[in-house]
Symmetry: D2
C-alpha cells in the first residue's frame, strides 16, 4: 500500500477549519500533516484539535519545513494565486477555495504557469458540482432531458443575520458578483457548456448603504445571454430574512429543473399559528456540508490516480472574468442617467 | 321557457345565509322566494338583504303560505328529518344540510317515507363530492389509477380559533363523529363503494375538558376496515392551531392520492423569519365555497331534469349510522380498563 | 330599484364567451342585452346560448340599435382603441380586454379622449389584480410587510400544447411582451407603484423558429430597473411542457412573497412511479376564472357607484408602452454583435 | 492517547457492509479488526475490501481469536439475542441492529442478563433517533412546542421494487410490525415518553397473496392509545409505488410536526409532462445514511466515555413486545367475524 497523502491546510477560519477536519477524519489514507494561519487564535485552536499536525504562522516556512504532498488553500481570496503558484513550483498538488483570484490578470497568469505542471492536480473549490442535487441536474441536462435550455436562473443570497461579517469584509471584497455569484457563474458554465456573450447588471443598496461606498450593492443582479442563446439571470445578495437562499432553475423546452427553491434544512414541516412552514438552512456549511467533503475526496482521488482536476484553473479564471465583467456592468449602469 | 324554481331557504346562520345567497345570485332560473328562521336578527337581516323574498319565523306557515318548488334546509341537525318529511309530503323537492339526522331511527324513517316520492329530488349536502380536488380523486379511483385501495385516511379538524362556537354547541352536539367526521365517512363510502365491517375508536380531551361532560373528546379518531378490505382512519378534532385541516389520503397498490395536506388558502408563499410558509384556510366556507355553490346547482339540475338526487337519503342514513357506531366505540373504549 | 345594466359583449372567442356568460349569470342586476362577433359560428352559438340577447355581426350597428349602458370588448387587440372611443362617444361605459392598444400613439389618444368623459367608467382588463393571491401580495406590500422591494420577478409562459394557436396568431401579434408579459408589467407597476428607468431584453427561438420571421422569440425576457431602484425580471414564453406557468416573486428586505411557483390546478397530490407530483393548470381560464368574474363585478360596481375604473386607461397606456420598449430592446439586442 | 477501539462487524449484507465501512472510515480512533459472515461471497468481498480486517465464518471463533473491544451485529434477527449475550459475557460492548429479538422472552432474558454488565455499552440500532429531522422533532416536543400530543402517526412502507427481497425473507419474518413498524414504535415511545394501553390492528394482502400463508399482510396498520392518552396510528407496508415512504406526523394542541411527508431524495424539482414533481428515496440506506453513521459514532462515544447506551436493551425489549402485540391483534382481527 502507498503511504498516506500528507496535506497542509492553509487558512483556518470557519471553512478552512472544516476542510482540515475533512482531511483529518473523512479522507482515506490522507494525513493532516500541517495547519497554517496568520491568526494566532485560529492556529492555536487547530493545533490543539489536531495534535498530529504541525502548526505554522508562515506559509513559506510550512512549505520549506514539511514534506507535503498537497495543500488546501482557504486563505483570503487575494492570496490564492500567489500561494497556489508557490506550492505548484514546490511540486505540490493544490486545492484552492474559490475564487481562483480577484483579477483577471493574476488568474490568467496562474493558468499559464500551471500548464507547465501537467503532473499536478490543481483544483478550484466549486463545491456545488459535488452536491447530489446539482449532480442530478447536470446528469439530466447532459442526457437531454430538458431539451434546449432557455433560461438559467440562480440566486445566492446570504441571510441578513450574517450581515455584520459581510460589512466587516467590505474593504477586502471584490464585489458581490465575485464573492457570491461566482458559484452561480460556475454552475451556468458547467451545465450549459457555453460562455456569455452579453452581460447587463443592476442592483442597489436596499437595506445597507455601506455597500455604496465600495461601489457595490447589498443586492445585485446580472442578466446575460450565452453563446448557445440560453439566457442567464443571477441574483447575489446579503439580506435574506429567512436563511441561505441558494436556488437554481433551468427552464428548457422539454422540462424545467429546480434546485433548492425552498432551502429547507431538513425534512421537518411545522403547522402552527404561522401557517404550514419549513425552516431554512442558515449558511453554506449547513447546506453544502456533504459537498465540501465530496470535493476534497475527489481532489484526493485525482491525485492518487494521476488525473487532472475535475474543476480546473481555467474554470476559476472564467468564473472570475465573468464575475468582474458583471461587477463592471453594475458599476457602469448605476452611474448612468435615466434611460427611459 | 319554464318559470323559475321558487325556493325557500330555512335556517339563516352562516351557512344558511350563504345557501340563500347562492339561490338568489348564482343559480339560473331560480328564485329565492322565502327565507325562514326562528332567530329574529338573522331573519331581519336576510329580509333586508333579499327584498324579493318573504320572511317567515315559522316553517309550517312558510310551507302553507308560499307556493314553493323546493326548500334548502340549513336548520339545526335535530330538525332535518321532520322538516324534510313535511316538505316532501307537501310535494316539495328538498336539499338538506348534513347530517340527514341524529339517530339511525329517524334516518331510516326518512329513507322509508321518501321512497313513496320517487318524483321528488331529495338531496343531502355532502358538498365535498362537488369539490374539484375530490372529484379528481373519485375519477382516478374509478379509473383504477391507484390500483387496489389499502388505506383511506381523512382528517376534519376545525381551527382552535373556532372553539367557542364548538363549546356553545356542545349541548346540541351528537358527538364529533357526527358533527365533523360525517363528511369523511361519506367520502370513504363514495370513493371506496364499500361499507365498514369493523370500527374501533379512541380519543380524549387534550385541550378542552368540557367535552368530557358530554362523553365526547375534543379530538377523536376511528379505525375501520371496510368490506373490501380497505382500512380507514379518521380524525375529527377542534384544536388545529393553523387553520381548517381537511385532508384525505388514499394509499393504493399503484398510486397514492392526497388532497389538502397543506390547507393553503391561496397560491401565496411567504419567506420570512418564520421560514418558508403558506397560510391556511380558516373554515369550511373559505375552503369549500365553490363546492357549496356547485352542490346547489346540481340539486337544481336534478329537479329540472326530473332525476333522483346524486347524494341520496340512503347516503345520509349510512353516514349517520357509521358516525354513531364510531361514537359508540369511542364511548365504550374510553370507559374500558387498560388492556396492555 | 334601478333598472338592470344593459351590456353588450363584443368578441365571442373563448374569453369573450366567458365574459358574456359572466354578464348573463353572475352579475346582479345586469343584463346581457347584445352579443357581437364577426365570426358567424361564434355569433350563432352565442345567440343560441343566450336567447335573451340580440346578435350583431357589426359593432356600429349594435351601438346604433341597442340601448346599451356598457360594452365589454374582447375583440382583437388592434380594434380595442377604436371600439373603446366609439362606445365612449356614444356615452357607454367600457370594459376592454388587455392590451389597451398595440401602439403607444393609439393608447395616448385614448387617454386624451377619455379625459373628456369623466362620468364614464372605462376599465382595462388586468384581471390578476382581482385574483385572491395577487390581492394578498398587494395588501402585504402596501402594509410594508416585505420591507423595501429588491427584485420583482414574474413569468408568463403558455403551455406548449397551445403552440398552434400562438403560431396562427403570429401575423397579428405585437410580440411576446405585449401578448403575454403585459400582465406582469401591469402587476409590477401596480405593486411597486413605480415606473421603469432601464430596460434590457433578450431571448430567442428555442423550439419554434417561426417566431424569428416576425422578429420575435418563442421565449423572451426583460430585465428592468424601476425608478424606486427595484429590479424587475420578466419572462414570457410559449413552450412550458407542464402547464400554464404564471408565477411571481417579490423579494424584499424583510420578506419574500411568491405566487404560483407551482401552478397546481387543485389540492390533489399524486404519489406514483413518477414521484410525488401535482398536476398543473393548462390555461388562463382555468387559473384565473374567479378573477375574470371579479373584475367584471368590479366594473359593474364602479358604474353603479359612479366611480372611475380601478384599472385605468393610463394603466393600459403604460403597460403597452413598457411592453413595446421591451420588445424593441429585444429586437435591438438580437441584432447586436457579440459584446463579450 | 488511548489505543483505537477494535471492532468486529458481524453480518455483511447490505447494511452490515455499510456498518463495517463506517467503522473503517468514519469513526475516529476505531479499527475494523474483524469481519464475520456465514455467507462465503459476502465474507470474501469484505476481506478484499478491508485488507486490515481478519475474516471469520464463525462468530465464536472470531470472539475467541480476536482481541476485540466491541461487536456490531447485523446478523439475522433471530441471532441477535444469543450473539449479544455471548459478546457481553466475553466483556465486549455490543451494538445490535433492530430488532433486539423476535420473541418477548428472549428480549426479557437479554435485559436481565445485561444488567449484570453495567460497565458495558449495549446499544440497539434505532437509527432514526440520530436523523436530524427526528432529532428536531424530539427537541421540539421536549420543549413543549406542540403542546399536548394528540395523535402520533407514522408510516414505514418499502417500495414495491423491493418486493422480491421481502417475499424471499418471508419464511424468516416475524411479521410486518416487527420487520418494519418497530422503528415507528420506538419513535413513538421515544418522543411520547409513554407506553401503549390499547392496541388494535388490521390489514391484508392487497397486492401479494403470499403474505397470507404466513398469517401476515403486505400492508398492515395498528391503532393504539398510549397511557398519556395520545393516539398512535402506524402503517407498515411493502407496496409503495414511488419510493421509501417513511413519514411521521405528530399532531399537538399547539402545533403539528411532520417529517418526510414527501420522501424527496434531494432538493431537485422537475416540471414536465408529468406535472411538478420530486423524485423519492428508494430505501433505508439512501434515506438514513447519515443517521446510520451517527448512531455508530454515538455508540463509540458512549464506550469511550464509559456511559450507558442512549438506546437501551429495554428500548429493544419494549419495541419487540409492542410489535408482537400488534401482530397478534392483526391475526386475531383478521380471523374475526364481521362486527358491523
Amino acid at each position: 500500500m502507498t503511504s498516506p497523502l500528507r496535506i497542509g491546510a492553509v487558512g483556518l477560519g470557519r471553512l478552512g477549519r472544516f476542510h482540515a477536519e475533512t482531511v483529518a477524519k473523512h479522507l482515506p489514507h490522507t494525513e493532516l500533516a500541517a495547519v497554517c494561519s496568520v491568526v494566532p487564535d485560529e492556529l492555536a485552536s487547530a493545533k490543539n484539535h489536531f495534535p498530529n499536525a504541525s502548526g505554522y504562522a508562515d506559509y513559506t516556512e510550512m512549505l520549506n519545513t514539511e514534506c507535503l504532498d498537497a495543500v488546501v488553500l482557504t486563505s483570503p481570496s487575494a492570496l490564492h494565486c500567489a500561494q497556489l503558484l508557490q506550492a505548484a513550483e514546490a511540486g505540490l498538488h493544490v486545492f484552492t477555495e474559490k475564487p481562483l483570484g480577484i483579477t483577471g490578470e493574476e488568474c490568467q497568469n496562474v493558468v499559464q504557469q500551471v500548464s507547465a505542471h501537467p503532473d499536478l492536480t490543481i483544483m478550484v473549490g466549486f463545491m456545488r458540482r459535488y452536491d447530489p442535487s446539482y449532480l442530478e441536474v447536470k446528469t439530466r441536462l447532459d442526457a437531454g432531458d430538458i431539451g434546449r435550455p432557455i433560461l438559467f436562473r440562480s440566486y445566492s443570497v446570504d441571510p441578513e443575520t450574517c450581515i455584520d461579517g459581510a460589512l466587516a469584509y467590505l474593504p477586502h471584497s471584490a464585489g458581490q458578483f465575485l464573492d457570491m455569484a461566482v458559484h452561480d457563474i460556475d454552475l451556468a458554465r458547467w451545465v450549459l457548456q457555453s460562455e456569455p456573450r452579453m452581460i447587463t447588471a443592476a442592483g442597489g443598496c436596499y437595506a445597507h448603504p455601506e455597500f455604496a461606498a465600495h461601489d457595490d450593492g447589498d443586492n445585485v443582479a446580472a442578466f446575460m445571454q450565452f453563446k448557445n442563446e440560453t439566457m442567464v439571470f443571477l441574483l447575489a445578495g446579503r439580506t435574506a430574512p429567512h436563511g441561505y437562499q441558494v436556488e437554481t432553475e433551468i427552464i428548457g423546452t422539454k422540462a424545467t429543473l429546480r434546485v433548492g427553491m425552498t432551502p429547507q434544512r431538513n425534512l421537518v414541516e411545522i403547522l402552527d399559528a404561522h401557517g404550514v412552514r419549513k425552516l431554512c438552512s442558515q449558511g453554506f456549511l449547513e447546506r453544502f456540508e456533504q459537498a465540501y467533503i465530496a470535493e476534497l475526496a475527489a481532489f484526493v482521488q485525482c491525485i492518487r490516480k494521476g488525473k487532472p482536476a475535475e474543476v480546473t484553473v481555467n474554470d476559476g479564471l472564467r468564473a472570475t472574468e465573468i464575475a468582474l465583467a458583471a461587477q463592471q456592468a453594475f458599476r457602469d449602469r448605476s452611474s448612468s442617467s435615466e434611460p427611459a
